[in-house]
C-alpha cells in the first residue's frame, strides 16, 4: 500500500538513491496520544571506532593507549567537550550543538551481543535483532513496525520495494517503500585503497591506474577542480562528493518523513568505516567521514523542519575497533563502540556509559573496549518510549531471546 507521494524531483531522486526505506504508516498508539513520532535508523557499516568519535579524555589510561593518535581537549585540533569525561571528535560540531541543546545522546562502550568480529555476521546480528548470526531474513525495524500495526492494515500484496539495496534492518513482512537510485553513492575511497593494496603485490600496473584515480580524488578534495578536465570531474568521487551524498541522502529522507502524508520510519546505510590503515581520526580519513556524518545529521534536522521535535535518529554500527592503534596507523575489528541518538524528541545532553576502563585487564580479550551496555537495551528503549512498541514484543519477536536485556529508560522527556 504505497502512499502517493509527489513525484520526486530529480534532485531528490539522486539524493535518495535507494537508501531511504520507509513505511507510510503512522504508529497507531502514538497517534492516539496526539503524537506523530519519526524514527530514522542509520546503519554505519564497517565497524565505527567509537573511541575516535567520543574519546574518554578523563580516563588516565587514554593517552597511554593511543599516544599521539589520541583525541584530547588540547592540541591543534582539540576535541569538543561533552560531559567532562568524554570529548567529541572536532569533525562533529553539529552533533555537539545538538548535545548542548539536550537533543543528542551518546551511548558508549556498547555493542550487540555478537563478539566474533566478522563484518557480515556482525551486521546480520545488528540488523536482524537476533542474538546470533545466521538470521538474515528480516530486520528488527521491520518486525517492530509489524508489531505496532494491526495486521489488517499491512497490505501483504504490497511486495517489498524492489530497491537495489534494502538494508536488512528494514527487510521483512511489513511493506516497504523505496526509491530506486538514478545514481549511486560515490565510489568509496576505502574500496579504492583496498584495491590498491591488493594490486600492489599482484599487479603493479593496475595499481598505478587506481593510484592515479586516488590522486584525482585528493586533488578534487583539495579544491583544485580547475586542474581537472570536465570528464575527470565527472568521474570524481572525492570527499566533497561523499559529504554531499551523505547530507542529501539523509536530508531528502527527512523531507519525505516530515510531510504530513509521508512515511514515519526510515532506514539508510552508510559504508566505509572499516579503518584498518591510516585511520586519521582527527583530520584524516575517519575525521572526514565523521564530518560527512555530522553533515547528514544536520541535514536531517533541517529537512524535518518542525517535525524535528518529534524525531529520533539512531546511528549504529556492527561493532567497535581495537583499543590500540595497529602497525598501519589504523585499528582492527573490536567490540565496544558508540551508538548515537539525535533528535528533538530526546531528553539529551548525556553520555550513557558504564565505563569499563582502558587498562589491559579492562579490555575485552585484552584488545577491545569492553561492551558494558547491550545495544539492544538502547534500541528497545527507543522503540518502546518513542513508537510505543510493547515490552513483550520487544523481548520476543523484535529482539528474540532478549528478555534479560531491559529497555533503557529515560531517553525521552
Amino acid at each position: 500500500m504505497p502512499i502517493n507521494l509527489h513525484a520526486p524531483s530529480r534532485r531528490e531522486l539522486i539524493a535518495a538513491s535507494g537508501v531511504l526505506f520507509a513505511w507510510p504508516f503512522l504508529p497507531k498508539i502514538a497517534r492516539a496520544e496526539g503524537r506523530d513520532p519519526r524514527l530514522m535508523v542509520v546503519v554505519l557499516r564497517g565497524a565505527l571506532d567509537g573511541l575516535a568519535l567520543a574519546a574518554p579524555v578523563g580516563d588516565p589510561d587514554w593517552i597511554k593507549l593511543r599516544g599521539d593518535k589520541a583525541l584530547t581537549l588540547e592540541g591543534k585540533t582539540p576535541g569538543l567537550p561533552l560531559d567532562g569525561f568524554f570529548a567529541l571528535n572536532p569533525a562533529m560540531p553539529n552533533l555537539h550543538r545538538l548535545y548542548q541543546a539536550n537533543q543528542a545522546i551518546l551511548a558508549h562502550a556498547t555493542c550487540t551481543p555478537y563478539r566474533d568480529r566478522s563484518h557480515f555476521d556482525g551486521q546480520d546480528v545488528l540488523e536482524s535483532g537476533f542474538a546470533r548470526p545466521g538470521n538474515a531474513e528480516t530486520g528488527w525495524l521491520n518486525r517492530a513496525f509489524a508489531a505496532i500495526e494491526p495486521a489488517a492494515r499491512i497490505d501483504r500484496r504490497g511486495a517489498l520495494a524492489v530497491g537495489p539495496v534494502t538494508p536488512l534492518v528494514v527487510r521483512g513482512p511489513a511493506p516497504v517503500l523505496s526509491w530506486t537510485p538514478q545514481r549511486i553513492a560515490p565510489a568509496s575511497e576505502d574500496t579504492l585503497m583496498r584495491l590498491i593494496d591488493l594490486y600492489q603485490h599482484a599487479d603493479p600496473a593496475l595499481a598505478r591506474v587506481l593510484q592515479g584515480r586516488l590522486g584525482l580524488m585528493h586533488l578534487a578534495a583539495a579544491g583544485n577542480m580547475d586542474a581537472l578536465t570536465p570528464a575527470q570531474r565527472e568521474q570524481l568521487a572525492g570527499l566533497a562528493a561523499v559529504r554531499a551524498y551523505f547530507a542529501e541522502a539523509a536530508g531528502t529522507a527527512a523531507k519525505f518523513m516530515a510531510r504530513p502524508d509521508g512515511p514515519r520510519v526510515g532506514a539508510l546505510a552508510f559504508n566505509g568505516w572499516d579503518t584498518h590503515i591510516d585511520e586519521g581520526a582527527v583530520g584524516g580519513r575517519l575525521g572526514n567521514l565523521l564530518g560527512a556524518l555530522d553533515g547528514a545529521i544536520a541535514a536531517v534536522e533541517t529537512g524535518m523542519g518542525p517535525a524535528w521535535k518529534e524525531t529520533v535518529v539512531v546511528l549504529v554500527t556492527e561493532f567497535g575497533r581495537t583499543a590500540h592503534i595497529n602497525g598501519d596507523n589504523g585499528t582492527d575489528h573490536g567490540s565496544g563502540t558508540v551508538a548515537l541518538l539525535a533528535g528533538g524528541a530526546l531528553k539529551g545532553g548525556r553520555v550513557l556509559a558504564d565505563w569499563p576502563g582502558l587498562k589491559e585487564s579492562d579490555l575485552f580479550e585484552k584488545r577491545d573496549l569492553k561492551a558494558t551496555t547491550d545495544l539492544r537495551a538502547v534500541l528497545k528503549g527507543v522503540l518502546r518510549d518513542h513508537l510505543r512498541v510493547d515490552d513483550k514484543a520487544l523481548a520476543t519477536d523484535i529482539f528474540p531471546d532478549s528478555a534479560a536485556v531491559a529497555p533503557t529508560s529515560g531517553l525521552f522527556g
Binding site: G46, F120, T191, Y199, V209, N271, D274
Partner: protein, 502 residues
Amino acid sequence: MSTMSTDPKYQAALALHRFGLGPKPGSIDAIASDPRGALLAELERPGVGLVFDASLMTASKSSMAAFNFRQEQMAKRIALQAEKTAMANATPAAVAAGEDPAKLGPVKPHAESNKADAKAGDEADNKSAKPAKPPEPNVQQRIFRNEARAHFIAANTAEIGFVERLVWFWSNHFCVSADVVPYMAGGYEREAIRPHVLGRFADMLAAAESHPAMLIYLDNFRSVGPKSVAGLIGKVGLNENFAREILELHTLGVRSGYTQDDIIAFAKVLTGWTILPAATNPEHGSEFVFNPRLHEPGPQTIMGKVYAEVGVNQGRAVLADLARHPATATHVATKLARHFVADDPPPALIKTLEQRFRDSDGDLKEVAKALVAAPEAWDAPPTKLKRPNEWLTALRRAMPDMQANVVQGLQARARLGEPLWRPPAPLGFSDVQGPWADGLAQRLDIAEIVATRVEATVDPKDLLETTLGPLASSDTRRAVARADSRQQAIALALMAPEFHRR
C-alpha cells in the same frame, strides 16, 4: 602459478576465463575432469555460434524498416507543416484546436537520424531527469536493442563461451560500426560472421566483404570505376578505402608486400559491389548487388597476378587468393594468439596456428582446435587484461540472477569504452592492454553499482568460488573476507586482479 597448473580445477577455471566468457555457477566443476575436451566438445555442438531468434530481421530488412520509419516521420512532419501553414491563415481559435506539434517530437534531418537514434539506447546516459517509465522504443531503437539482446543472450547462455569468443574475435576483425550502419550491425554479425566462425576463412571473407553493412561502412557502395558506364558519364570516382582495408586489416596485414598500385587495381576490381537503393526497391532495398554499370571493365593486376575474370567473379577470385596467401595466415595466427594468450604472443604458438591455417586451407575449426591443443596457450601466465566486454560478461555470468536489461548492458559497455558494435576505426577495438588499463577506474564504478544491486542476494565468498575458485590468490581471498560490507566484498571480488587478467 606453475605449481598450480597441473591441478585440473585450476585448468578448468583458466579455460573458462582464457578461452571462454567466464564461469557460471558450477562451470568450473563441470569441466574439471577434462577442460581441453570440454573446449573441443563445444566446437562440435550442433548449431553452436548461431543465433536462433525468429524475431530478428535480416540486416537489409532492418535497414529498410528503419528507412521506412524515417520516411513516415518525415511525411508526418510535412503534413504538419502544411497544417500549420494553413492554420496561420486561420483564426486563433482554430490554432488552439489544432494538434500540439510537440507531441510528435522532433524529426531529425535524414543524414543525422541514423546516428542519433541508434545511440539513444545506449549512450543517453540519463544525465537529464528521466521519467520513471521511458517512452516505448521506436522501430529503430527496437531493431538495435533486439540485436543487442540476442548478442548478450548468446554470451550469457553459452556453456563455456569459446565459440562466442571466436564470434567476437572475428566480428572485431571484420568490424563494421553501428555509428555508420546502426540497423545492420547486428544482422551483419549473424549473417557474415556467425555462420563461418568454425568454417573456412575464405567463406567468411567473402561473406563479410559482400555484406551491405561492410560496403556502406567502407564506402564501396558508391565507388565507381573510371571507365565504367557510370564513370564515363561523369559519376564520381573510385574509392580506395575498401580495397586498402581488406588488404591491410582483413587479409595480408600492413606492410606485407602490396603496393599502392595493387590497392588501386583491387579497388577497380571491387567497383560495382554495392547495394540496392532503399528508395527505389521496396522489396529488396539495401541488399547486396553487383552493379555492372559501376564496374571497371578489363583485367587487373594485383601483386603480380592478372585477374581476367569478368564482373563480380573478378573480385571473388582476388578474395579467394588473398584468403590463401601466406601473409594472411601469419596475420590471422598472430591476431588469434594475441587475442587469446598474450599481448606479445609466444612465437611458437603463432607458428603452430599459422601452420594449421595453411595446412587446412583456412579451416577455422581446425585452427581453433590447434589453439586448444597448443601447450603454449595453457602455459602462458595470465597477463591478458580482459577487454571491458569480456569483463562485463564474466561478471554477468557469475551472477545470473542479477536483474539487468539490454539498455543497462549497452550503457555499461559504452561507459567502459567498448560500446557494442562501435569500434573507433576499421582496425577494430584494440587487443592489447595499453588502451584499456586506464578504464579500470570506470570498472570500479560499475563493480560498485553491481555490488550495490546484488548485495542482498549474492554471497561474496560463493561469488569468489563460482567465478575464480582456484585462480583466487590468498591476497584476494583475504581482501574479500575483510571487506567492511557485503557490497564492498562483492566489488572487491569483481575487481580482483585474477578477474581482470586471464
